[in-house]
């Protein structure tokens, strides 16, 4: 699985303050910390930014100045997204669009224009979150069709089935459906479509760090075994991050020998 850090978001008070002062340093430090921790891509979450296009471009430039990792440009504001894509020299992934008409109309063309990958959320056109697997699968088909109609090659689409907070009444049912959708998408769409899931969603709300990690550590291997390609997560949760590597080893298609597993620390003792 590719590990995408979700740590950089504008609602973080330190980041908000840095942005207000146009100070790149706290953003640089955070992103370097994420990269050193094991992030393989960085999600730049604009949140409810004011003066959005300039600030978002500033974030993109700051991050690509600090690390040479792919960037997920995570904003629903098409102007901000356009400004970010215009300055982005790193590999960019748009995060993302859904069947919401405004998003289809404004976000999808940017993927075409810039020739980049784009994440599509399994949400109803009115932004309602589906609960059952069948609902999600129908949305995936619609999303795939919208994507193809926009002239984009299917291998550039990444589907995000939207992990639900466990605090929702339907959270457990929803997240079970997510597992089955990830497993069945390639058969359903007749194409090997990539998937991404946001692990931090699970523990949204007033949940301690320890319990967030317990939830993440139980659900992550289930996602991995379903065939998840990219995990969007708090890369400063060291336990969860290490588990990604153990899952990758357990699910590897290569023939490992015991000693080859050594580098990821699950084989013979030191």
């Amino acid at each position: 699985m590719i590990i995408v850090a979700d740590n950089l978001h504008v609602i973080d008070p330190g980041i908000a303050q840095a942005l207000a002062k146009d100070d790149p340093e706290p953003v640089r430090q955070l992103v370097l910390h994420c990269a050193r921790s094991g992030a393989q891509a960085i999600d730049i979450n604009s949140g409810p930014l004011k003066r959005t296009p300039e600030k978002f471009a500033f974030l993109v430039q700051t991050v690509q100045g600090a690390v040479s990792l792919p960037l997920l440009l995570d904003t629903a504001n098409a102007d901000a997204l356009g400004a970010g894509l215009a300055v982005c020299r790193s590999k960019a992934i748009i995060n993302g669009f859904s069947l919401e008409p405004a998003k289809k109309e404004t976000i999808l063309p940017l993927a075409m224009e810039h020739g980049v990958d784009i994440i599509g959320y399994l949400l109803h056109p009115d932004s309602r979150v589906p609960i059952e697997a069948q609902e999600m699968m129908a949305l995936a088909v619609e999303l795939f069709e919208a994507y193809s109609r926009a002239g984009l090659p299917p291998e550039r689409l990444i589907i995000d089935p939207v992990v639900a907070p466990m605090s929702w009444d339907s959270g457990i049912r929803h997240n079970q459906a997510v597992l089955s959708v990830i497993r069945n998408l390639p058969d359903l769409l007749g194409a090997p479509v990539r998937t991404i899931a946001g692990l931090s969603n699970l523990g949204s709300g007033p949940v301690s760090r320890q319990r967030k990690i317990q939830l993440e550590c139980a659900y992550l291997p289930m996602l991995a075994a379903s065939g998840l390609d990219m995990v969007l997560m708090n890369v400063l949760h060291a336990e969860t991050l290490h588990l990604v590597r153990v899952c990758d080893a357990l699910l590897s298609q290569k023939v490992f020998s015991w000693t080859e597993l050594d580098p990821i620390g699950i084989a013979a003792d030191p």
Copy 2:
């Protein structure tokens, strides 16, 4: 998932010594510890016992004198098994039989005679361990047929796809196949057959406790999401044991609310 302790085995030096002296106390203490830790059933592993039938019956009597949990009578020795079943007042499960001719002939009839559940291993008749899922599925069909031919009702069969040590060259491939077999067995057999897997097998060999637990904690949620019914494990691995409960909550078919998750410690903070 039902948690079955694999902690009681005769190769444990303390247990071996207790048996040599016919001293029930170390066995009692171990089993009580397992029960307090969260075991919901106890596997009594006879290992290579001498004077087997008497000693095995002694173990069964000692364990059922200490805890009122179901017992898995884990021996390949039909005489020992018969002696154990004869004295067993707890719910008993035979662990187990395979397509090995001697086991089919001697072990299977005991399940019929005593009207108990029995575990069947997915092993070739010559005891070779299958690697590919298709091989395992073919063995499951044969096992199911052998079981039915012996006149036993299918709902009494529990299939053990035999988790492989990660130290084996084919361990990774084998254990991936195990996940797919557990998921597909009900469809294949056209009946809801229960499954059990031995988690401790993963870390067999010269592996530290920490690494054993890392492997267990990555693989257990995968097994759980595949639909595993019973997990045979070291119940003194507290991290793994807690994870069973979190997995059960994530995969529950009931509609939980956030607060109902409290008792298992994954919901709101104290």
